[in-house]
Amino acid sequence: MLAAALLLAAEEAKKTVNPILPVTEEIVWAAASFFLLWMLMRYVFLAPVMRVMDDREGRLREARAEADSASSGADDAVAAYNARVDVARAEANGIVAAARDEAERYRARKLAEANAEIQAQREAAAAEVAAAKATALAQLRTQVAGVAVSAASRVVQKDLALEAQLQVIEDYVNGSNEGGTR
Protein backbone atom coordinates (compact mmCIF):
# COMPACT_ATOMS: atom_id res chain seq x y z
CA MET A 1 0.00 0.00 0.00
CA LEU A 2 2.66 2.45 1.12
CA ALA A 3 4.95 1.30 -1.68
CA ALA A 4 2.27 1.75 -4.27
CA ALA A 5 1.50 5.18 -2.94
CA LEU A 6 5.13 6.13 -3.10
CA LEU A 7 5.44 4.86 -6.66
CA LEU A 8 2.46 6.90 -7.64
CA ALA A 9 3.98 9.90 -5.94
CA ALA A 10 7.09 9.31 -8.02
CA GLU A 11 5.01 9.29 -11.19
CA GLU A 12 3.44 12.55 -10.14
CA ALA A 13 6.79 14.02 -9.18
CA LYS A 14 8.09 13.65 -12.74
CA LYS A 15 6.29 16.89 -13.44
CA THR A 16 8.08 18.79 -10.72
CA VAL A 17 11.41 20.52 -11.04
CA ASN A 18 14.95 19.28 -10.48
CA PRO A 19 15.68 18.87 -6.75
CA ILE A 20 19.12 20.44 -7.20
CA LEU A 21 17.98 23.73 -8.64
CA PRO A 22 16.88 26.58 -6.39
CA VAL A 23 13.27 27.67 -6.43
CA THR A 24 12.38 31.31 -6.90
CA GLU A 25 10.17 31.77 -3.87
CA GLU A 26 12.69 30.11 -1.57
CA ILE A 27 15.42 32.38 -2.94
CA VAL A 28 13.21 35.37 -2.27
CA TRP A 29 12.51 34.35 1.28
CA ALA A 30 16.09 33.30 2.03
CA ALA A 31 17.45 36.58 0.70
CA ALA A 32 14.82 38.60 2.54
CA SER A 33 15.42 36.78 5.84
CA PHE A 34 19.17 37.07 5.61
CA PHE A 35 19.14 40.74 4.68
CA LEU A 36 16.73 41.44 7.51
CA LEU A 37 19.06 39.66 9.92
CA TRP A 38 22.19 41.26 8.53
CA MET A 39 20.87 44.82 8.57
CA LEU A 40 19.39 44.48 12.05
CA MET A 41 22.62 42.99 13.37
CA ARG A 42 24.72 45.59 11.58
CA TYR A 43 22.85 48.65 12.74
CA VAL A 44 20.85 47.72 15.84
CA PHE A 45 21.55 44.59 17.81
CA LEU A 46 25.25 43.87 17.63
CA ALA A 47 26.44 47.25 18.90
CA PRO A 48 25.17 46.92 22.53
CA VAL A 49 26.67 43.45 22.87
CA MET A 50 29.97 44.66 21.51
CA ARG A 51 29.89 47.66 23.83
CA VAL A 52 29.35 45.41 26.85
CA MET A 53 32.22 43.19 25.74
CA ASP A 54 34.53 46.14 25.10
CA ASP A 55 33.63 47.61 28.49
CA ARG A 56 34.47 44.35 30.16
CA GLU A 57 37.71 44.09 28.23
CA GLY A 58 38.62 47.65 29.21
CA ARG A 59 37.84 46.91 32.82
CA LEU A 60 39.91 43.77 32.70
CA ARG A 61 42.79 45.69 31.17
CA GLU A 62 42.54 48.36 33.87
CA ALA A 63 42.45 45.77 36.62
CA ARG A 64 45.41 44.03 35.10
CA ALA A 65 47.39 47.28 34.88
CA GLU A 66 46.49 47.99 38.49
CA ALA A 67 47.61 44.55 39.52
CA ASP A 68 50.82 45.03 37.54
CA SER A 69 51.55 48.35 39.28
CA ALA A 70 50.74 46.78 42.66
CA SER A 71 53.05 43.91 41.98
CA SER A 72 55.79 46.28 40.81
CA GLY A 73 55.31 48.23 44.12
CA ALA A 74 55.71 44.99 45.95
CA ASP A 75 58.85 44.36 43.93
CA ASP A 76 60.22 47.75 45.00
CA ALA A 77 59.48 46.97 48.64
CA VAL A 78 61.23 43.66 48.30
CA ALA A 79 64.25 45.37 46.75
CA ALA A 80 64.41 47.95 49.56
CA TYR A 81 64.13 45.22 52.15
CA ASN A 82 66.89 43.27 50.44
CA ALA A 83 69.09 46.37 50.43
CA ARG A 84 68.51 46.86 54.15
CA VAL A 85 69.26 43.22 54.79
CA ASP A 86 72.49 43.59 52.84
CA VAL A 87 73.53 46.60 54.90
CA ALA A 88 72.79 44.81 58.14
CA ARG A 89 74.65 41.77 56.97
CA ALA A 90 77.70 43.88 56.06
CA GLU A 91 77.57 45.53 59.48
CA ALA A 92 77.35 42.18 61.22
CA ASN A 93 80.23 40.92 59.16
CA GLY A 94 82.31 43.96 60.21
CA ILE A 95 81.51 43.33 63.86
CA VAL A 96 82.43 39.70 63.59
CA ALA A 97 85.69 40.57 61.85
CA ALA A 98 86.59 43.13 64.55
CA ALA A 99 85.84 40.62 67.28
CA ARG A 100 87.95 38.06 65.50
CA ASP A 101 90.86 40.51 65.26
CA GLU A 102 90.54 41.32 68.91
CA ALA A 103 90.53 37.64 69.81
CA GLU A 104 93.54 37.10 67.61
CA ARG A 105 95.46 39.91 69.24
CA TYR A 106 94.51 38.70 72.72
CA ARG A 107 95.63 35.21 71.85
CA ALA A 108 98.95 36.47 70.50
CA ARG A 109 99.53 38.52 73.63
CA LYS A 110 98.71 35.63 75.90
CA LEU A 111 100.93 33.36 73.88
CA ALA A 112 103.86 35.77 74.15
CA GLU A 113 103.34 36.12 77.86
CA ALA A 114 103.26 32.40 78.34
CA ASN A 115 106.33 31.96 76.18
CA ALA A 116 108.21 34.57 78.20
CA GLU A 117 107.24 32.92 81.45
CA ILE A 118 108.32 29.54 80.18
CA GLN A 119 111.62 31.08 79.07
CA ALA A 120 112.16 32.68 82.49
CA GLN A 121 111.42 29.46 84.30
CA ARG A 122 113.73 27.60 81.97
CA GLU A 123 116.52 30.11 82.66
CA ALA A 124 115.97 29.96 86.41
CA ALA A 125 116.14 26.20 86.32
CA ALA A 126 119.32 26.32 84.25
CA ALA A 127 120.92 28.74 86.74
CA GLU A 128 119.92 26.52 89.63
CA VAL A 129 121.39 23.53 87.87
CA ALA A 130 124.62 25.44 87.22
CA ALA A 131 124.81 26.56 90.83
CA ALA A 132 124.24 23.04 92.10
CA LYS A 133 126.87 21.78 89.68
CA ALA A 134 129.39 24.37 90.93
CA THR A 135 128.72 23.51 94.58
CA ALA A 136 129.06 19.84 93.86
CA LEU A 137 132.31 20.42 92.00
CA ALA A 138 133.73 22.50 94.85
CA GLN A 139 132.76 19.84 97.38
CA LEU A 140 134.26 17.15 95.18
CA ARG A 141 137.46 19.11 94.83
CA THR A 142 137.99 19.47 98.65
CA GLN A 143 137.20 15.81 99.22
CA VAL A 144 139.56 14.73 96.38
CA ALA A 145 142.26 16.97 97.90
CA GLY A 146 141.62 15.52 101.33
CA VAL A 147 141.87 11.98 99.96
CA ALA A 148 145.03 12.85 98.04
CA VAL A 149 146.67 14.45 101.07
CA SER A 150 145.82 11.51 103.32
CA ALA A 151 147.14 9.17 100.68
CA ALA A 152 150.28 11.18 100.33
CA SER A 153 150.78 11.26 104.17
CA ARG A 154 150.51 7.50 104.15
CA VAL A 155 153.10 7.37 101.41
CA VAL A 156 155.57 9.71 103.12
CA GLN A 157 154.76 8.35 106.59
CA LYS A 158 154.31 11.74 108.08
CA ASP A 159 151.49 14.06 108.59
CA LEU A 160 151.37 16.67 106.04
CA ALA A 161 149.90 20.00 106.76
CA LEU A 162 146.58 19.88 105.01
CA GLU A 163 146.46 23.60 104.39
CA ALA A 164 149.86 23.75 102.75
CA GLN A 165 149.12 20.74 100.58
CA LEU A 166 145.85 22.12 99.53
CA GLN A 167 147.70 25.22 98.34
CA VAL A 168 150.07 23.00 96.38
CA ILE A 169 147.26 21.04 94.76
CA GLU A 170 145.49 24.18 93.96
CA ASP A 171 148.50 25.55 92.23
CA TYR A 172 149.01 22.31 90.37
CA VAL A 173 145.49 22.07 89.23
CA ASN A 174 145.62 25.63 88.10
CA GLY A 175 148.89 24.98 86.37
CA SER A 176 147.72 21.77 84.75
CA ASN A 177 144.58 23.57 83.78
CA GLU A 178 146.75 26.14 82.07
CA GLY A 179 148.80 23.41 80.58
CA GLY A 180 145.64 21.58 79.47
CA THR A 181 144.33 24.55 77.70
CA ARG A 182 147.60 25.17 75.99
Partner: protein, 102 residues
Protein backbone atom coordinates in the same frame (compact mmCIF):
# COMPACT_ATOMS: atom_id res chain seq x y z
CA UNK B 1 5.46 13.00 9.59
CA UNK B 2 4.56 15.05 6.59
CA UNK B 3 5.93 12.25 4.45
CA UNK B 4 3.45 9.80 5.94
CA UNK B 5 0.68 12.28 5.44
CA UNK B 6 1.55 12.56 1.81
CA UNK B 7 1.69 8.79 1.42
CA UNK B 8 -1.70 8.25 3.05
CA UNK B 9 -3.28 10.90 0.88
CA UNK B 10 -1.93 9.28 -2.21
CA UNK B 11 -2.78 5.76 -1.10
CA UNK B 12 -6.48 6.44 -1.58
CA UNK B 13 -5.92 7.11 -5.26
CA UNK B 14 -3.36 4.35 -5.69
CA UNK B 15 -5.72 1.45 -6.34
CA UNK B 16 -6.75 2.67 -9.77
CA UNK B 17 -3.27 3.00 -11.22
CA UNK B 18 -1.74 -0.30 -10.11
CA UNK B 19 -2.31 -1.99 -13.49
CA UNK B 20 -0.65 0.61 -15.72
CA UNK B 21 2.68 -1.21 -15.44
CA UNK B 22 4.60 -2.13 -18.57
CA UNK B 23 3.75 0.79 -20.81
CA UNK B 24 6.80 2.81 -19.93
CA UNK B 25 9.61 0.36 -20.66
CA UNK B 26 11.92 2.99 -22.20
CA UNK B 27 11.57 5.23 -19.20
CA UNK B 28 12.15 2.25 -16.92
CA UNK B 29 15.31 1.29 -18.80
CA UNK B 30 16.57 4.85 -18.48
CA UNK B 31 15.76 4.89 -14.77
CA UNK B 32 17.57 1.58 -14.24
CA UNK B 33 20.66 2.73 -16.12
CA UNK B 34 20.57 6.01 -14.27
CA UNK B 35 20.26 4.31 -10.89
CA UNK B 36 23.16 1.92 -11.46
CA UNK B 37 25.44 4.55 -12.94
CA UNK B 38 24.49 6.81 -10.04
CA UNK B 39 25.88 4.19 -7.70
CA UNK B 40 29.11 3.95 -9.68
CA UNK B 41 29.40 7.72 -9.91
CA UNK B 42 29.17 8.25 -6.20
CA UNK B 43 31.37 5.26 -5.37
CA UNK B 44 34.12 6.45 -7.67
CA UNK B 45 33.80 10.03 -6.50
CA UNK B 46 34.22 8.94 -2.89
CA UNK B 47 37.57 7.14 -3.40
CA UNK B 48 39.84 10.11 -3.98
CA UNK B 49 38.45 12.41 -1.30
CA UNK B 50 38.42 9.48 1.14
CA UNK B 51 42.14 8.93 0.68
CA UNK B 52 42.76 12.66 0.64
CA UNK B 53 40.88 13.42 3.83
CA UNK B 54 42.47 10.48 5.63
CA UNK B 55 45.95 11.64 4.68
CA UNK B 56 45.14 15.25 5.52
CA UNK B 57 43.72 14.51 8.95
CA UNK B 58 46.57 12.10 9.74
CA UNK B 59 49.14 14.75 8.89
CA UNK B 60 47.22 17.34 10.90
CA UNK B 61 47.13 15.05 13.92
CA UNK B 62 50.85 14.38 13.74
CA UNK B 63 51.47 18.12 13.39
CA UNK B 64 49.31 18.79 16.44
CA UNK B 65 51.07 16.08 18.40
CA UNK B 66 54.44 17.53 17.47
CA UNK B 67 53.51 21.11 18.29
CA UNK B 68 50.51 21.23 20.61
CA UNK B 69 50.89 24.99 21.02
CA UNK B 70 49.95 25.57 17.36
CA UNK B 71 47.03 23.13 17.46
CA UNK B 72 44.42 25.87 16.91
CA UNK B 73 45.99 27.06 13.69
CA UNK B 74 46.48 23.52 12.45
CA UNK B 75 42.87 22.67 13.20
CA UNK B 76 41.53 25.67 11.28
CA UNK B 77 43.72 24.85 8.31
CA UNK B 78 42.68 21.21 8.56
CA UNK B 79 39.01 22.13 8.35
CA UNK B 80 39.67 24.32 5.34
CA UNK B 81 41.58 21.50 3.66
CA UNK B 82 38.80 19.04 4.43
CA UNK B 83 36.27 21.48 2.97
CA UNK B 84 38.21 21.74 -0.28
CA UNK B 85 38.87 18.02 -0.53
CA UNK B 86 35.35 17.05 0.40
CA UNK B 87 33.94 19.25 -2.35
CA UNK B 88 34.88 16.58 -4.89
CA UNK B 89 32.94 13.90 -3.06
CA UNK B 90 29.99 16.24 -2.70
CA UNK B 91 29.98 17.02 -6.40
CA UNK B 92 29.90 13.24 -6.87
CA UNK B 93 26.91 13.15 -4.55
CA UNK B 94 25.16 15.83 -6.57
CA UNK B 95 25.81 13.83 -9.72
CA UNK B 96 24.32 10.84 -7.90
CA UNK B 97 21.19 12.81 -7.12
CA UNK B 98 20.95 14.05 -10.70
CA UNK B 99 21.33 10.56 -12.17
CA UNK B 100 19.11 8.84 -9.68
CA UNK B 101 16.23 11.22 -9.28
CA UNK B 102 16.06 13.51 -12.30
Amino acid sequence: MSLLHHAIELASEATTTAAEGAATTAADAKATAGASSAGYAYGLAAIGPGIGIGYLVGQAVSAMARQPESAGMVRTTMFLGIAFTEALALIGFVVFILLKFV
